[in-house]
Symmetry: D2
Subunit: 255 residues, 4 copies
């Protein structure tokens, strides 16, 4: 466990924090923008070591965390950020054995976090109407070996949800308000719905529809994450930050 | 699953968002500040219903989510907030099967989230040197039936960590910098350490010690959560918010 | 200048930061919630001294700054906060000699800052349709002796603006979008309009109307102010903060 | 006043918000990155008009506001941002007739705002020990014709302050704590000191020194400004923002 083996996911992290993630396979090599490094050299190396490309650029050699995997996921669309995903997990009570519905899959970042947390006894049902996007999400999930925990469907939410009994559901699509009655039927009584939306106008529309469709205990929030320069004698926030990803809305299915 | 049963955890949520959580037991009753409600009446009630106290005050009747449980945990100390816990889970890759170390347990909020996520195949080892605090944490974990996933120890981190091989560890105590070499030994190579600290001075000290003790890939961040009034035609942030809980520092064990 | 004189504005600031402002008049006394203090005792006292009530509670004895005056202004309505006022001054180029229009006056906090900055050679024209509010604003301005710089009018903006040639104007009222053509006529070409609004829905309406009415170079912003506990060895933000006062919108009169 | 004249300061603002400021002089022309525009063409043009370069790129033609001037000031160093300057003005009670001390001048952004606000009856005394910086600040002030309101000195604060009787002072330099006794002597009793510092370590040092040097009523704050995309039907914050400029500390000279 302390030494990297063929087949492991490995991460190279530069001094500036740039991250590269790949699966170790004997005979392959990775081309960074700062030089090349062979997988063979990495296999058997102790995690936490500093390794160098053939040009002498140093990288931390580390097993990727879930956050790292989410950050570097292959994407064809804006993904949901780790700061939001962490809070979503708690709000939707995702954990081992949970059964959760999501639409759309997008590039699969949230799908990945859900699949990670539900374990082998849980299940993620994920709808996506764009086939190209679905392929990206599916390939991201397969790269992590989580495909047994996810059922993807190439399906438009407008056509309804063929399963039901979900204790939680999440929507990441432009007009969630028009699908609320479908989602309501798929949720258990008291089940939790989460939605992410970029604009205030969309949130207003959603809130209006929630009131009309039998959702209650509504909450809207936004999360801001600010990084600091980790220098002991000159501690201060970084110069710039992400100002906005999306507004998170949550509600419960009520009578 | 749609109807509450004896033995279930149940939540009453007022219109203003106040939450009360208890386990349903035939023959008991709950005294809110707005009147009384009998468990007997709630058992068999459909989740998501609106129920009333004997004084006619309405409450949403809901199964609590993990966030609700963390928010309302019995506490003897400042607890770590859900906004921070969610991010910690991703940074430490907590999920089914994970084995994680924490000190101190405090009131057990983070312990609860860890225990929830690691599932029956995972393990949380939790040190706390104050016996009164340990009892609070233990009782919170037992109330949720998660005791098989947690091993508590009434132990000062200064005496070292008797287990090792942890892929992740979290410290919530005043002087984490003096324990870093103990924690380092308990982590796998490349393992991840997280720390929460309220003041900038403590973060500076920690960062200095991390550099000297073989921790790298250091990151410091803070998370701000702002709630909105969920009124469709008058969407706006609430008037006041929590301005600060703590700075989150993360690092990896490096060579 | 170093010693307080009869007729001066004086401030008592408690250790916790509570502020009381009054004008020194021989023969009067001030009743704090922590005991009484006579003006006579304060007249002739050096600014910056620590003074005590008859119960022994200490206060800093200070000349109030503009921020202090704005914070403690007598109010009948939500006032605009110093964090917002400071930015408004720069955005509207308020300074000595400026001529500025505002509606409504509200309790007169922004009016006070405008009057302070335009000096004796400038002018503030302030409309307010509620007579009770107008009296509060007027009395606040008179208390500071700034009445020569302000012309108040008990007038509804719907009836138009009787002056023109303003290089800047500010609106703090519920439906600014319906008055935009009046305001446009009162502004010079290229003049600047500022508006504060609490909800996102109002901002959307305003932005739509601005596009239709000949306003351009539009900017929307919000300002967050976070205070720290000023303890050298335990520096950290205060626990809670104001999460929202209003959205600031600015635009220029364009062709 | 509605039409630009030779000698006026003029601003070209692009659709994306880029700003160019210059003084109109017959016979000159301005070379933007999107084409050329002759001053002659602009002189006599109505403010608020849309003008085009010879390549057809449109710009708003506007008189610059104080904020615009501060944003585009020629700089040789990090400048203080408008969001901070606005609040500083209120905290230091800067207005017509005020006499204020600052060190160092830096590129002169704060000097400009101070000079703007104190009017012809006020005075800004500004120290700067780097001659190259002093020249930048001086030239920025002269470009705006504010030189009669500012006295620059090429002087190190370590050599003391030759004037006194200031009701307010501001420090923007790396080790303000070592100059506090000089500044205290230059302030009136009860006078206000403001300081901007980028790191938490510097703030801790400053706070400790303030306690020891006869400063009280201390306040530390930070200001965050978030811009929104001003689109009526898709209102949302911009993607990125400035995360940090500096911590603002304020204190009063006490006995």
């Amino acid at each position: 466990m302390d030494f990297a083996q063929a087949g492991d996911l490995a991460m190279l992290q530069s001094e500036k924090g740039k991250k590269i993630i790949f699966r170790l396979e004997a005979g392959r090599q990775y081309q960074t923008h700062k030089g090349m490094i062979s997988h063979q050299e990495l296999i058997g190396t102790r995690w936490g070591s500093t390794v160098e490309t053939h040009l002498g650029t140093p990288f931390h050699f580390l097993p990727p965390t879930l956050r790292d995997l989410l950050q570097t996921i292959r994407r064809r669309s804006q993904i949901i950020f780790p700061k939001d995903i962490g809070y979503i997990l708690l709000r939707l009570s995702i954990g081992p054995g949970a059964k959760v519905f999501e639409a759309g899959a997008g590039s699969g970042a949230l799908t990945t976090a859900f699949a990670w947390m539900v374990g082998d006894s849980g299940k993620v049902i994920s709808y996506e109407r764009r086939e190209d996007m679905l392929e990206v999400a599916r390939s991201n999930i397969e790269n992590l070996g989580l495909q047994n925990r996810v059922t993807f469907a190439h399906r438009d939410l407008a056509d309804g949800i063929s399963e039901s009994g979900f204790e939680s559901a999440f929507l990441d699509l432009p007009n969630p308000e028009i699908y609320l009655s479908h989602v309501r039927e798929a949720l258990t009584f008291g089940g939790t719905l989460g939605v992410i939306l970029p604009t205030t106008n969309q949130v207003s529309k959603l809130l209006g529809a929630m009131e009309d469709t039998g959702f209650g205990a509504v909450e809207v929030a936004e999360i801001m994450l600010r990084f600091y320069k980790p220098v002991p004698a000159r501690l201060r926030p970084r110069d710039r930050m992400v100002a906005h990803t999306g507004y998170l809305s949550f509600a419960r299915r009520v009578a």
